[in-house]
């Protein structure tokens, strides 16, 4: 089902990020997602997240589909030129994938193949426009596609913590005009700041899903503050997590995440959980937050 249908139903949408394995043993991952059936609306399958080589998004999406779990295929501009991207979009349609999340992608230098050529033939706005074109029955060169054109619900990303924020919002508007029907954000820990962001993008009239990364430890929070663009975990949250003994940390972290979901719920149209290995806790956090 297209994610846009969920938003149309007025539902608060929950998505969960899924990182395919580095290697072909994928059953473990699929088993881990099973408890989330009926709790999560769709699963975002990453496209070589952090520029690290893994199993591809498209194959994993299809495996989810086979298990009747709704996938969102992430598609980055890092590794394929316009021929490769358009072909993969058509292939995704053939495999029954209905949701695509289009993003620029991390630079290869950040990953495990730093010597790879960064492609970026298209950027995220141009990728959305290219898919819109395919959906109208033509490729980027203006050639007709044979038969029924593919139909997707297109998503995009935005970083509400970016400083300056204005260029992000201008780019977000371009993405809306290019066909993005929903947005997922970078992880949010400052609810007040996020509320201001939501106010600033209200005129775009597009569903926004707040990002949430589970905080596994105070060190992880500090690491993200120092190294990840647009993420800021306030000291109070870090202190709150640091104040409990190690064996209670998971419980505390889940409590913080659940509280954030409750606080963010009224501001936006959905939540996008990035568990980063803590898939087994997603269900618990959702329950704690009142889902």
């Amino acid at each position: 089902m297209k994610l846009s249908e969920r938003f149309k139903q007025g539902k608060f949408v929950v998505t969960c990020e899924v990182g395919p394995p580095k290697g072909i043993e994928i059953k473990g991952l699929l088993d881990e997602l099973e408890p989330l059936r009926n709790k999560v609306d769709a699963f975002n399958v990453t496209d070589l997240q952090s520029s690290v080589l893994r199993v591809g998004s498209m194959a994993t999406c299809r495996l989810l589909k086979d298990k009747a779990l709704e996938p969102i295929m992430q598609l980055t501009c890092r590794d394929r030129n316009r021929l490769g991207l358009q072909s993969d979009v058509l292939s995704a349609a053939v495999l029954g994938i209905e949701n695509l999340l289009c993003l620029t992608g991390d630079h290869p230098k950040l990953g495990d193949h730093p010597d790879a050529m960064p492609v970026f033939d298209l950027d995220s706005v141009q990728l959305l426009l290219a898919i819109k074109e395919l959906m109208s029955g033509k490729d980027m060169a203006g050639n007709d596609l044979q038969g029924q054109p593919p139909q997707f619900c297109l998503g995009a990303v935005v970083n509400p913590g970016a400083d300056p924020l204005e260029p992000q919002i201008i780019k977000m508007a371009k993405k809306v005009a290019a066909g993005a029907e929903f947005f997922q954000t970078q992880a949010v820990y400052e609810v007040d700041k996020f509320a201001l962001f939501c106010e600033k993008v209200k005129h775009l009239n597009v569903p926004v899903m707040a990002g949430l990364v589970f905080l596994k430890s105070p060190a992880m929070a500090k690491f993200m503050n120092a190294n990840v663009a647009g993420i800021h975990v306030p000291d109070e949250i870090i202190d709150e997590l640091a104040a409990v003994p190690k064996e209670k940390r998971v419980e505390k972290s889940m409590e913080i995440s659940a509280r954030l979901i409750r606080e963010l719920k009224d501001l936006c149209q959905g939540i996008h959980i990035m568990p980063l290995g803590w898939e087994k806790h997603v269900s618990g956090v959702l329950e704690l937050s009142g889902f």
């Binding site: 501009c77 316009r82 620029t104 991390d106 630079h107 230098k109 950040l110 960064p118 970026f120 033939d121 298209l122 950027d123 995220s124 706005v125 141009q126 426009l129 290219a130 980027m140 990303v157 935005v158 970083n159 970016a162 400083d163 300056p164 204005e166 260029p167 992000q168 201008i170 780019k171 508007a173 371009k174 005009a177 290019a178 970078q186 190294n227 990840v228 663009a229 647009g230």
Partner: protein
């Protein structure tokens, strides 16, 4: 030598938009050889702009626009005229346009596309880089090249990976789009960020047949 080709006049006029007072600046180095710069091109552009109803506030010819010291010294004499102008139309290569933008707080417009860096490059003083993309974008980006300054060569705005104004690839390197944003804010052109860039035409990077037939091209073989 850097090879440049005139941008189509329509494109130049479109980018000047409603600006009426234009200062003309031409390079007398490589661009003069390519006839995109030099006195002849400068005079011809002045005529064209006046025909289009523009007021040319002044003209200036500088030997090498890629040399920022030279540009700063020479333009110092033109300060009053430049201050009265809405923008500067620069008849030179991508590096020259970037160098001018670096030293003058005015909107700059490129009048040419850089199509080949040739065998011998112009001066390459510091941050100004040209990839000879053949479709100069400096017009809308405040004279800072998104193709060479952004690690991902993004045309439609920042990726979201920059932290504290630095690129995700190298924390010592400025985010090109952050610089573009700051520059456009400074010259009052933030609305330029709204422009939607189409995918690049990479075939423009290949030296064209007519360029390959020139004697200059032969000389540098």
């Amino acid at each position: 030598m850097l090879f440049t080709k005139d941008k189509p006049l329509d494109e130049v006029l479109e980018s000047l938009g409603a600006e009426s007072n234009i200062f003309l600046l031409a390079c007398n180095g490589c661009a003069e050889v390519c006839e995109t710069g030099g006195q002849i091109a400068l005079s011809a552009m002045k005529t064209e702009l006046e025909k289009a109803g523009k007021n040319v506030t002044g003209t200036c010819l500088v030997d090498f626009l890629c040399n920022k010291v030279l540009v700063t010294t020479r333009l110092a004499r033109e300060t009053d005229k430049i201050k009265k102008s809405d923008s500067i139309l620069v008849l030179t290569c991508g590096i020259g346009v970037q160098a001018v933008a670096k030293v003058v707080d005015k909107v700059v417009h490129p009048a040419a596309n850089t199509v080949s860096l040739g065998g011998l490059q112009g001066l390459w003083p510091s941050d100004e880089r040209c990839q000879a993309c053949g479709d100069c974008a400096l017009d809308y980006t405040g004279g800072i090249c998104p193709i060479t300054f952004c690690a991902k060569s993004l045309l439609n705005g920042p990726c979201g990976g920059a932290k504290d104004g630095k690129c995700e690839v190298d924390s010592e390197k400025d985010c090109g789009w952050q610089l573009i944003y700051e520059r456009l804010e400074k010259v009052g052109r933030l609305e330029n960020l709204k422009k939607v860039y189409k995918p690049r035409d990479y075939s423009k990077m290949l030296p064209s047949e007519d360029l390959r037939k020139t004697s200059f091209y032969d000389l540098e073989k």
